[in-house]
């Protein structure tokens, strides 16, 4: 599913997009420890977090994530937004909590291949 379809179906506020809204979302990861995201997120994941620091953009780029969704209505910091626009990383905002948002994504069929 494309990121923009998720955005419209889950009512996400698009903060930065610049061409990456057509990214295919192939899974998801939820974590607020960026070192954990670096270690465990997979390419194509949509990342759910409450971190607003500019490092989220670098981590999203590094891991080739499909996009970042900030929860609880949290707004990205100004330099985060600038970086995201520059790096072509989509940052979206949801008013839901991490738990609720992950549930909605699952209902949309966004699932990770189970690790065997």
């Amino acid at each position: 599913m494309e990121l923009q379809e998720i955005a419209s179906r889950l009512n996400l506020e698009i903060k930065s997009a610049a061409g990456s809204l057509t990214n295919q979302v192939t899974g998801g990861y939820a974590s607020d420890l960026l070192s954990d995201v670096i270690a465990h997120a997979q390419k194509g994941d949509v990342w759910i977090t409450l971190q607003m620091h500019q490092n989220i953009v670098a981590v999203a780029t590094l891991k080739e994530l499909a996009g970042v969704i900030l929860v609880n209505g949290r707004q990205p910091e100004e330099d985060t937004l600038q970086k995201a626009i520059h790096e072509n990383v989509s940052i979206l905002v949801s008013n839901l909590s991490t738990f609720e948002l992950a549930g909605r994504l699952y209902q949309l069929g966004i699932k990770n291949d189970p690790v065997v």
Partner: protein
Amino acid sequence: MTRLFKADLHIHTCLSPCAQLEMTPRAIVRQAKLKGLDIIGISDHNSAENVVVTKKIGEKEGLVVIGGMEVTSREEVHILAFFADDEQLLKFQDIVYDNLTTGTNCTEVFGEQVVVNEIDEIIGFNQRLLIDATGLSINELVDKIHSFEGIAVASHIDREGFGIIGQLGFIPPDSGLDGFEISSKITLEEAKDRFHGRNSFITGSDAHNLLDIGKSFTQFLLELPTLKEIELALKGQGGRFLVDK
């Protein structure tokens, strides 16, 4: 003439909710001297209310005490802030208090937050939720610390919990931090290797009880045991530097 000074800059007093009640300023100074330390730093969580009293005791006992605080950023990263001037430190504390949540401490869960005087008498309890994070980002904190002529050191960067790398994946290149603290779990050599040749490393005990004081310390080559000189050492300037143990 420079000489070696042993410094443990990361010590919590009984004001920190997680520290033992035995961590009174008098006991800390006594233990630090026993351990042969020349300089200690007082770094309670989001508060500095036991700093002035510890400095007074240190002055009498011949131990250099540097006033500071371990402040928690919005990203839940611990930052050590040190100030040469108490007034500046207290101004910084006002800003930290303004940016702490309005919650009150739950003593059953987190412990008492005790403010004491020079003879270990309890003169008050801090009711704020000091264990909580401030609403200030790392960048905002570092800017504020610098604006009060303080220095900012990222705490225990090799630790996942509340360490800058654990929380943020890597050290933001424009962080403005003056130094980086490593815990006693890794050596300076390992740190240089892991954190790509940064050289402004200090190590401290992060003591929450008396026995831990001086368990880990930094050796500075300085002319005088002052924060100004420590700042020079962190920059490797003026012939002041850190000495590997």
